[in-house]
Symmetry: C2
């Protein structure tokens, strides 16, 4: 999932600036499984443009900073389709939170509880975001992906609600 493909993917939903792309990738409802920073996006966009996979339109709006609006070319769409048929790289999930939870004996229970609480709040916030995105969405594929995220987030939150309790027998996944 390199940044180039990511840019093509987002542009397949319509034209956008580098700023837009970064925002959708890092803050939007899709951010639960994609990622990209400015430092990666701008060079990628430039490379894609030089390869003829996207088109650039300079939008100089009086007042506001002028911007470069990119959109997919036919070649770009072809490249995207090809990328989608490439063998998938395995999904990645890395969690420092779980690493700390694994070594919970080394930290004060209070601190651990605080971390768990924060994590739950984070999950709930994302869940809310996913839900409202689902409400406002027509694309079936998008709905599927959003619903997947919702299902997984709900499960994580449910688990933490139960496992938060001090009763150890609750932890055992029975």
């Amino acid at each position: 999932m390199n940044v180039k493909t990511l840019c093509l993917a987002i542009l397949s939903f319509g034209e956008a600036t580098g700023y837009d792309i970064r925002k959708r990738a890092a803050e939007g409802p899709l951010s639960y499984f994609i990622e990209a920073s400015f430092g990666a996006i701008y060079p990628a966009l430039d490379r894609l443009w030089r390869e003829g996979l996207i088109e650039k339109r300079r939008e100089a709006r009086p007042g506001r900073p002028s911007r470069k609006v990119y959109s997919l070319t036919e070649a770009g769409e072809k490249a995207l389709v090809e990328a989608l048929h490439q063998p998938l790289t395995p999904d990645v999930f890395k969690s420092e939170f779980l690493l700390v939870a694994l070594l919970a004996d080394y930290v004060e229970p209070k601190h651990m509880a605080q971390l768990a609480h924060a994590k739950r709040a984070e999950l709930e916030q994302r869940l809310e975001q996913l839900r409202s995105a689902l409400d406002a969405c027509e694309s079936e594929a998008m709905r599927w992906v959003l619903s997947y995220g919702i299902a997984v987030h709900e499960a994580a939150i449910r688990f933490m609600q139960v496992a938060d309790r001090p009763d150890p027998s609750r932890h055992c996944g029975a």
Copy 2:
């Protein structure tokens, strides 16, 4: 979650070789949220040893290739505890599979169904691994982490079972 902390964390469960650590990180039940390759582990181990955070014991066993068994020092345990109290870096989830699912309109339905099937099989395999690890585990913290993984994997599998169906109304997370 850099490799050094990861090594300390695994060593906190008992002595191990670089080979062991990589195996647990990349193939064990914990691999659902941690990751490390040889090329990262060996240099990290060497650095940790030079910093006095771990001890090295050369085990030259007649016949089998000799190996270096590492174990935490007191300083290492202290360093681990300190690392665990550092502010958490956000969890990372990246999924190329979901990116393709998002753009499902660009691929043949057959191909997409195949990918979904493979993903489900993968999730089920991991789930099995997590379950048997839970059965064989006494540490409460470990049980918690394993159970978390089980809960999330179960939810993902459940979702895919429902959403696999051709009926679109099933997709909408209602």
